[in-house]
């Protein structure tokens, strides 16, 4: 609760709202083993009396999923300011966190084969992508390198001050072929909170408002055997609806803030969201500069690869980084004239996808 309370207070202060002004609460399902009605208990702890209170459970897509749910509840007139909180902390009771539940596919069909967490799943996608499209280790490594450059301009990132090269990535140990250690997220503990509110409330806040222009969500599978093509994700649908709803195209984006649990995830996202055509993501990241001064700024906070992955709060960093950039508050890593951002959240092994188009709003 300490994490949660601290970031929740920070988010309310940032929005210039008091608990009495907040009438919605969305939580990440990180309180495993927590009793039922956990959301109400957290609300009470924070001094909030919500008209809309829920747990959003979409893995790494949870934060993006909260944004549009909050916006939809507000648009429906049910509430005016929704506090969204994601947290990951060590379970104080070792062994309590279940890896799987009896009767669910993982416990029956997967675990006897020794998958290595999510890493082996993304490795299967990377192998297939290399097979179909010739994507190289060097091309994937470029994603990690550019994002590390971004992290070196972000003092709050875990790997601030430690630049890397493509050779460093390729020289790091293979964990699950073809993925090297430096292509894999760095886990850590942490929490993130943000407020989604009505435009008129946001305009009276101390910061320039950021507007949700479009969104889309798509869940395609849980077990990998249910995803027919490992190189084609639900981002095709989620991003497609987000761009259509916003009336913009990928080419209009000034910033990409996309889930990056592994290097291959970024390449798949760029392809499926339409920044490049299917199969060309490898050459695309090699030919473009993904740093904050580059022609395609991507994950300017360092991404989870270099900023760190605080569980579900890690996915939230893609939302908060986009907001910070659109506000023009990113400091050294500020993207020049950042007006439109594409955010993508990805959960499970490419299973849950949620895409957002965010815009710098007028004051």
């Amino acid at each position: 609760m300490d994490f949660v309370a601290r970031v929740a207070r920070d988010a309310m202060l940032d929005a210039a709202l008091l608990p009495v002004d907040v009438d919605g609460l969305l939580l990440s399902p990180t309180f495993l083993g927590a009793p039922i009605t956990i959301a109400s208990m957290v609300a009470d702890s924070l001094g909030i009396r919500p008209a809309y209170c829920d747990v959003v459970d979409l893995g790494g897509a949870t934060a993006a999923g909260m944004v549009w749910r909050a916006a939809a509840a507000i648009a429906a007139g049910e509430c005016r300011a929704v506090l969204c909180v994601l947290a990951e902390a060590p379970d104080p009771r070792p062994g309590m966190r279940p890896l799987s539940w009896p009767g669910l596919p993982l416990a029956q069909w997967d675990r006897q084969y020794g998958p290595m967490g999510a890493t082996s799943g993304y490795a299967l996608a990377a192998t297939r992508h290399a097979y179909e499209y010739g994507t190289t280790d060097e091309q994937r490594a470029k994603v990690a390198v550019d994002q590390r450059t971004n992290a070196c301009a972000n003092p709050t990132s875990l790997f601030h001050g430690t630049p890397i090269t493509v050779d460093d990535v390729l020289a790091s140990p293979l964990v699950c072929d073809p993925l090297h250690l430096l292509e894999i997220v760095m886990p850590c503990w942490g929490a993130t909170a943000f407020v989604v509110t009505r435009a008129d409330v946001a305009r009276s806040a101390p910061h320039p408002p950021v507007v949700l222009r479009g969104f889309g969500e798509q869940i395609t599978h849980a077990s990998l055997v249910s995803l027919p093509d490992l190189t084609r994700t639900g981002i095709v649908e989620s991003a497609g609806r987000a761009f259509t709803g916003a009336g913009v195209t990928p080419a209009d984006m000034d910033l990409l803030s996309v889930y990056d649990c592994y290097t291959i995830t970024v390449i798949l996202t760029l392809e499926d969201a339409g920044f490049c055509t299917k199969g060309t993501g490898g050459p695309f990241v090699a030919d473009h500069d993904l740093t904050y001064v580059g022609d395609l700024p991507c994950n300017t906070h360092g991404g989870q690869l270099s900023y760190g992955q605080a569980g579900l709060a890690g996915g939230a960093s893609h939302v908060t980084e986009a907001v910070i950039q659109l506000r023009g508050a990113a400091g050294e890593r500020q993207v020049a004239d950042c007006g439109l951002a594409f955010v993508n959240g990805n959960g499970g092994i490419l299973a849950e996808q949620c895409s957002l188009v965010l815009e710098r709003g007028g004051s």
């Binding site: 799987s100 009896p102 009767g103 596919p105 416990a107 029956q108 069909w109 997967d110 675990r111 006897q112 084969y113 020794g114 998958p115 290595m116 967490g117 082996s120 490795a123 299967l124 996608a125 990377a126 192998t127 297939r128 097979y131 140990p173 293979l174 964990v175 699950c176 072929d177 073809p178 993925l179 077990s223 990998l224 055997v225 490992l230």
Partner: protein, 141 residues
């Protein structure tokens, strides 16, 4: 060389019982919907196309093609620590379904996408056997 631990046993469901019973006898069967004439894997309580709950299990050829694979070289999973490096794979069975598995009986570095494989079996304990795959011989493939 540390001892190879037994694999964790699957937590089986009632509607998948025929699959596990067949595996115990070193046979691969697949769930099939007689109404749609369609295989589905993994087994569910009913056909995900037509909701038919009178599903059957049919013998499979046991032959398939590697759709993708990874060589797991490090693991935090103690049950598999002594097995590294080992191959985790998705295999497209000739019946048209995909199965999650390990490719065994070969050097992990020799596995390729598109490789033909055949089902083989490993006994976990007195009740459970798991379906694995090995490179198919020329006559099998």
């Amino acid at each position: 060389m540390s001892t190879i631990e037994p694999r964790p046993a699957p937590e089986t469901t009632a509607f998948a019982a025929p699959y596990w019973a067949a595996a115990r006898g070193h046979r691969l069967v697949l769930q099939h919907c007689p109404r749609c004439d369609r295989f589905q894997h993994f087994p569910r309580a009913w056909c995900t196309s037509c909701l038919n709950d009178q599903m059957e299990f049919l013998d499979a050829s046991g032959l398939g093609t590697v759709y993708s694979f990874t060589v797991i070289r490090r693991t935090a999973n103690p049950a598999f620590a002594a097995r590294v490096p080992y191959v985790l794979a998705l295999v497209d069975l000739d019946e048209g379904v995909r199965i999650y598995t390990n490719v065994v009986e070969c050097d992990p570095d020799d596995v390729r996408v598109g490789q033909r494989v055949r089902a083989c079996f490993e006994d976990i304990d007195d009740e459970h056997s798991v379906v694995l795959f090995a490179p198919a011989t020329d006559t099998e493939s």
